[in-house]
């Protein structure tokens, strides 16, 4: 048996092998090899232009995340605590969530114009709904037996909310934030791809225009590393909260 701790390393080796294979098949003018990409990425992080783009994207992403999380939590928790409102909202949120967000893009551009606020808005429309849906279900999914226990202890509503509902729902809420934040990043980047003059998304488009394969892959690699670390961090927190193993 291979220890499970080695799984991520094995996965990485497999990805690198596939990537290298792809380069061999498709040719270096389509896919840069892992080695070339990594060397290019190292060169990239030494340029100030990259950090300006990263700061732009980072700011948009941070703003969009804060709004997505705050809005999603408020909406989701409120709906979760109000049975009837939740029943009504559930299918509505579901269908809103399933709308391809891209169809809203012209509208967002009309409202916000080009630039930061449009990027943020696009991030938010991707992230806010999953966070709301997860939080609503987290609260509704608290086992009725816990509420029965609370009633046996004659606890106040506030005390129930703080000592039972919140901790019981928290792991699921964090799972929602994890999904929501990933989609917020996606939204922010799409915003930059479409209509921006700064940011990593714009840098990607620029690299595509001049067909700089190594640049494209290096940027993609860095985005991947960034997204993966946020995801693992939240995933780790979520697992800790569930107290499994």
């Amino acid at each position: 048996m291979i220890p499970r701790r080695l799984d991520p390393i094995l996965l990485m080796v497999a990805v690198l092998a596939l990537w290298q294979g792809l380069e061999l098949i498709a040719g270096p003018e389509v896919v840069a090899s892992p080695a070339v990409t990594i060397v290019h990425a190292i060169a990239l992080v030494q340029k100030s232009g990259f950090w300006q783009d990263a700061a732009e994207t980072g700011l948009a992403f941070a703003l969009a995340s804060v709004i997505s999380i705050a809005g999603g939590l408020l909406l989701g928790l409120w709906l979760g605590l109000h049975r009837f409102a939740g029943d009504v909202a559930d299918p509505i949120l579901g269908s809103l969530y399933s709308i391809p967000k891209i169809t809203l893009y012209p509208l967002i551009l009309l409202i916000f114009g080009l630039g930061m606020s449009a990027k943020v808005a696009f991030g938010v429309i991707h992230g806010v709904l999953p966070i709301a849906i997860f939080s609503m279900n987290a609260v509704r999914g608290v086992p009725p037996i816990h509420l029965k226990t609370a009633r046996m202890l004659r606890m106040s509503k506030l005390s129930i909310a703080i000592t039972i509902l919140a901790p019981a729902a928290l792991p699921e809420i964090v799972a929602g934030i994890r999904v929501g934040v990933a989609l917020t990043l996606l939204g922010t980047l799409i915003g930059e791809l479409f209509a921006a003059t700064t940011g990593i998304g714009f840098a990607l488009i620029r690299a595509t225009d001049v067909h700089d394969v190594a640049d494209i892959l290096a940027l993609t690699l860095m985005l991947f590393l960034f997204a993966a670390s946020i995801n693992s961090l939240l995933h780790f927190g979520e697992r800790r909260m569930r107290h499994e193993r």
Binding site: T149, H243, R245
Partner: protein, 276 residues
């Protein structure tokens, strides 16, 4: 006995669940009439689905009867759960986000008991529940039986004057059940509580109780009462008493027909009575 002795009086209590999604109205319970004395150890046996948990919810003040009257210490059980009532439910009610110690201390903290007293009661409860070395473990790391013991301890430490137990030992193996039964008897004597125990084990009911009530198939009514006349100082060794077999036999005699009926409710029980 004082007014706050933990006595129960039910008069013509019934429960009908209104029709909901997928089912018509369910006559779940009664009519039930019963007086349970303060400090009595009272058990209920009955076929599954006959309304035992429903009865317990009503006595706890968690749910109100459709008709009839339910009194606890002479006061109607109208506005919710009265002070001094503890319950262990059939389902696992342990809190996954708290370790064993904090689970057991949960109720005491909500009641504002002082910290030293909480420490004393929790460590005592953990020791007699065999959970001391798991004090800092989380429920997800424990077996179902151990989680149930956590819930039992969480309720016992509150020293309620009415203790409601809904098949609390269902997840435990036979030996542990006997040991837990002994502990329950000790707690019962120590805190002088009224105990109402629902169990599907006739032996458990016969060994622990002052009085055992047998319920009919749904809607559950009391069809027989067996008074055991065990001494208050009893423990699980009374299963060797010559009267023990007689008591369980009497319980089974009353229960057998009702169990067949309740199987009939889910279809195909007629065959049991009339072999082809």
């Amino acid at each position: 006995m004082s007014a706050n002795s933990g006595k129960i009086a039910l008069r013509g209590v019934t429960k009908v669940f209104a029709a909901g999604n997928g089912h018509g109205a369910v006559e779940a319970l009664g009519p039930v009439d019963i007086d349970i004395a303060g400090g009595e150890f009272f058990s209920v046996v009955g076929p599954s689905g006959c309304g035992k948990s429903t009865l317990l919810d009503i006595i706890a003040g968690l749910s109100s009867p459709t008709t009839g009257e339910a009194d606890f210490d002479g006061k109607p059980l109208a506005g919710g759960v009265p002070e001094g009532v503890g319950a262990v439910f059939q389902q696992d009610a342990s809190f996954f986000w708290l370790n064993v110690w904090d689970n057991v201390a949960f109720g005491l903290r909500r009641k504002g008991v002082d910290a030293a007293e909480i420490r004393r009661r929790v460590s005592y409860a953990l020791s007699f529940m065999g959970l001391t070395e798991f004090a800092s473990a989380y429920p997800a790391q424990l077996s179902g039986g151990m989680r149930q013991r956590v819930c039992i301890a969480r309720t016992f430490v509150l020293k309620p004057r009415l203790l409601l137990l809904d098949e609390p030992f269902g997840a435990l193996d036979q030996q542990t059940r006997l040991v837990m039964g002994d502990e329950l008897l000790r707690v019962w004597r120590e805190i002088g509580a009224t105990v109402i125990l629902i169990t599907h084990s006739l032996e458990e009911a016969a060994m622990l109780s002052d009085r055992v009530a047998v319920m009919s198939a749904r809607p559950g009514r009391f069809i027989d009462f067996v008074v055991t006349r065990w001494p208050r100082s009893r423990d699980s060794r009374i299963i060797a008493d010559e009267r023990f077999g007689g008591i369980t036999a009497r319980l089974w005699g009353s229960l057998r027909e009702e169990s067949l009926k309740s199987l009939g409710n889910i279809g195909g029980a007629a065959m049991l009575d009339e072999p082809r």
